[in-house]
C-alpha cells in the first residue's frame, strides 16, 4: 500500500499544467458562488493543507498520527489569540500559527522518536482525546477563553477591492493553499523527501546509508504540524470562532479519514480527502446524528480492503489500464 502510491509515473509538466488548471477553476469559483458555499470552499482548502501535513508525516515518513487535530487546534488558537487578544492582522497570524505549530510539533516529535509505529499511534490517539480538556484548562482561560472560546471577525478585502468578505478570504485561502502545496511538492521531491521515504520504507537501511533518522523524523513531525496548524489558522478565521469542543477526537479521526480517502502518501489526494470530510458529515447528518461516525467507520474499513490507495490510487490504476489498452491497440 505504501510503495504503490509514492511514485506514479507522470511527467512533471502535465502535473504542473493540471495543477494550474485546477487553480484557475478554483479562482473562478470566487465569482460564481457566494456566501455559504464560499465558506465551505475555504474550509475545504484549510482541510486540504492540514491533510498535506498529515500525509507528510504518516504517508511519506511512516509515523502514524491519530491526534493531528491537536495541531489543527494549536494553529486555530494561535490565530484566535493573536487576532483577538493582541490585535494582530490576519495575514500575519497564519504564518505565526505555522511557526508555533512547527515548534510544538518538533517538541512532540522529539520524545515520539522513541515510539515505533503502534506506540506512536497510541500516544497520538491519547493526545487527540485529551486536546479539548487541555484547551479548557483554567490557567489558560484568560487567553483561550475557556469553554466559551474566542469570537473573531472576518477581514474585509483590502485596497478597496469590491469583493465581499467571504470572497476575499476564499481568495486569500487559495493563495495560501497554493503556496503550501508548492512547498510540499518541492519538499517531497528534494533529497529531504527521499530521506523521509527511505526512513518509512526501511529505517535501519536508511540509517546505514547515512541518513540521520532522528533529525529527519522530528523535523518531519514539526513540518507536518506546521502545515496542519496553517490549516487550523485558516479555519479559525473562516468560522470566526474557536472553541475547545471543535477539536475533539472526531476532528483527528476526520483527518485520518481524509488521508485514507485521498490516498495515503499522495499530495493531490489531500484535496479529495478534504472535500470528503467537509461534505460527507453534512450529508450524513440528514440520516441521523451519529451517522457521520458510522459512515467514516465504514469508509475506513472498506477503503483498506477494497482500494487501499484511495482516490489517487484509483486514478493511477485507471491511467495504467488506459495506457495498457492503448499499447495493445498499437501493437
Amino acid at each position: 500500500m505504501r510503495t504503490k502510491s509514492s511514485s506514479a509515473p507522470r511527467s512533471s509538466r502535465t502535473e504542473i499544467l493540471l495543477a494550474l488548471s485546477i487553480l484557475v477553476c478554483a479562482f473562478m469559483l470566487t465569482f460564481f458562488v457566494k456566501g455559504y458555499v464560499l465558506f465551505q470552499a475555504s474550509m475545504v482548502l484549510s482541510y486540504a493543507i492540514a491533510l498535506v501535513g498529515l500525509n507528510l508525516l504518516t504517508g511519506y515518513n511512516g509515523q502514524i498520527s491519530l491526534g493531528h487535530g491537536a495541531f489543527y487546534a494549536i494553529g486555530a488558537y494561535t490565530t484566535g489569540i493573536l487576532m483577538d487578544r493582541v490585535g494582530a492582522s490576519y495575514w500575519a497570524c497564519v504564518p505565526a500559527s505555522g511557526l508555533v505549530c512547527l515548534v510544538a510539533g518538533y517538541a512532540f516529535g522529539m520524545p515520539a522518536l522513541k515510539l515505533q509505529g503502534l506506540y506512536l499511534a497510541l500516544a497520538t490517539f491519547a493526545l487527540g482525546v485529551v486536546t479539548p480538556q487541555l484547551l479548557k484548562y483554567k490557567y489558560l482561560e484568560s487567553w483561550t477563553g475557556g469553554v466559551g472560546g474566542i469570537v473573531l471577525t472576518k477581514p474585509s478585502a483590502p485596497f478597496g477591492l469590491s469583493l465581499s468578505d467571504d470572497q476575499w478570504f476564499y481568495l486569500f485561502s487559495l493563495v495560501v493553499t497554493a503556496f503550501m502545496f508548492v512547498i510540499a511538492r518541492n519538499l517531497i521531491r528534494s533529497g529531504t523527501g527521499r530521506a523521509m521515504r527511505a526512513i518509512r520504507d526501511h529505517g535501519i537501511a536508511a540509517e546505514s546509508m547515512g541518513i540521520d533518522n532522528s533529525h529527519y523524523k522530528s523535523m518531519t513531525f514539526g513540518v507536518s504540524a506546521a502545515f496542519t496548524g496553517v490549516g487550523g489558522a485558516l479555519s479559525a478565521i473562516s468560522i470566526q470562532f474557536v472553541s475547545p469542543d471543535s477539536f475533539t477526537m472526531f476532528l483527528s479521526i476526520s483527518l485520518l479519514v481524509g488521508m485514507v480517502v485521498g490516498g495515503v502518501g499522495t499530495l493531490w489526494g489531500s484535496i479529495f480527502g478534504a472535500a470528503f470530510i467537509m461534505f460527507v458529515p453534512g450529508l450524513a447528518e440528514g440520516i441521523s446524528k451519529d451517522a457521520a461516525w458510522g459512515i467514516y467507520g465504514l469508509v475506513l474499513i472498506l477503503f483498506m480492503f477494497v482500494m487501499p490507495g484511495g482516490v489517487m490510487g484509483l486514478i493511477a490504476r485507471a491511467q495504467t489500464a488506459f495506457h495498457k489498452s492503448r499499447n495493445k491497440g498499437t501493437a
Binding site: 491519530l66 515510539l115 490517539f125 495515503v264 441521523s288 446524528k289 451519529d290 467507520g297 475506513l300
Partner: protein
C-alpha cells in the same frame, strides 16, 4: 489523612475497571501484536445491550452473563471477519481498520439506543460497605468482579489444556500449527475473551460515569496507560498497571493538577512510560534482530 485514604480506595475501585480493560487489550496484543483501539467502544456497546436486557425486565445477573456471552461471540466474529484478513497488512492499515471499528460501534450505539445519558444500575447496594465510611459497595463490588475475572483467567490459562494451547498459539503460531493447533480458532477465542472482559469492565464503570456512547473514550486512554505501565505483553502487568493508574489518576487529580486535567495525567503517563521504560514495569524487553 482520611480523605487521602478515601481517594486511594476510590482510585483502586476505578483502577479495577482500567485493569479489566487493560487486560482485554493485553489479551489481543499478546496474541496478534495489535492494539485494539475499538476495545472501549466494544465494551460500551455491550453495556448498552445489558441496559436493554435490564429494561426488558431481566434480573441483573442474568443480563450480566447474557451480555458477556453476547460480547464473547461478537468479538470472535469480528476477529474472523475483519481482523483475520489483515494479519499480514501494514501497521497503518491495521490501525485504520481499528479506528473504523471504533467509529462504527460508536455510531451504532447512538443510532440504536439514542445518545442521551442513561442511568445504569449497579448490582451492589448504594450504601457504604458494611457501614464503613471508606468505600461504597459498588466500589468493593467492582474490585471483586475484576479480581474474580483474573482468577478465572489465571486458572483457565494455567490449568486447562485449552488455555495452554491458546498460549502456545499466541507465542509461537508456526510451531503450534505444525503440532496441529488451529491457530486461527485460538485467536478467535482470544478475541472473544477480550470482548467478554471488556464487557464486564463496561458494566462496572457505567453506574459511575453513566451510560452514553462516549463513556469509554476516557476509560480506554487510562486502560492504555495501565497496559503500557504494566508491560503491554504481560497480563499480570496489565492488572497491576490498571490499578496503579487508577490510584495515580485519583491522587494526582485531587492533589496536584485538579480534576479537569485528570485525563492529561494519562497522556503524560503514556508518553513517559514509553520513553523511560518502553517495556513497562513487568514486560519483557524486546530486542530486535536486524
Amino acid at each position: 489523612m482520611e480523605s487521602f485514604i478515601q481517594q486511594l480506595v476510590a482510585g483502586l475501585a476505578t483502577g479495577s475497571i482500567y485493569a479489566s480493560l487493560a487486560l482485554a487489550l493485553v489479551m489481543i496484543y499478546q496474541a496478534t501484536h495489535q492494539v485494539n483501539f475499538a476495545q472501549g467502544e466494544m465494551a460500551m456497546f455491550s453495556t448498552f445491550i445489558a441496559w436493554t436486557l435490564i429494561q426488558f425486565g431481566l434480573p441483573y445477573w442474568v443480563a450480566f452473563f447474557a451480555t458477556i456471552a453476547f460480547s464473547f461471540v461478537t468479538a470472535g466474529v469480528i476477529e474472523f471477519v475483519v481482523i483475520r484478513p489483515l494479519h499480514k497488512a501494514a501497521e497503518l492499515s491495521v490501525v485504520v481498520v481499528f479506528i473504523g471499528l471504533l467509529m462504527i460501534y460508536h455510531s451504532a450505539a447512538g443510532w440504536l439506543f439514542g445518545s442521551s445519558i442513561k442511568e445504569f444500575p449497579s448490582p451492589f447496594s448504594k450504601d457504604a460497605w458494611y457501614g464503613g465510611q471508606l468505600m461504597s459497595s459498588h466500589q468493593v463490588g467492582s474490585i471483586f468482579v475484576a479480581l474474580c475475572m483474573v482468577a478465572v483467567l489465571f486458572t483457565f490459562f494455567r490449568f486447562t489444556t485449552l488455555g495452554l494451547t491458546m498460549r502456545a498459539a499466541a507465542q509461537n503460531p508456526g510451531s503450534s500449527r505444525l503440532l496441529g493447533v488451529n491457530v486461527g480458532r485460538m485467536l478467535m477465542l482470544g478475541w472473544g475473551l477480550a470482548g467478554a472482559i471488556g464487557a464486564a469492565a463496561g458494566m462496572m464503570v457505567a453506574p459511575v460515569v453513566f451510560l452514553d456512547p462516549g463513556m469509554m473514550m476516557g476509560v480506554l486512554i487510562y486502560a492504555f496507560a495501565g497496559a503500557l505501565l504494566g508491560g503491554i505483553d504481560n497480563p499480570v502487568g496489565a492488572i497491576v498497571g490498571g490499578f496503579l493508574v487508577g490510584v495515580l489518576e485519583n491522587l494526582i487529580g485531587t492533589y496536584v493538577v485538579g480534576t479537569e486535567l485528570k485525563l492529561s495525567v494519562a497522556l503524560v503517563l503514556i508518553v513517559a512510560v514509553l520513553i523511560v521504560r518502553p517495556a513497562g514495569l513487568l514486560g519483557r524487553r524486546i530486542v530486535q534482530r536486524v
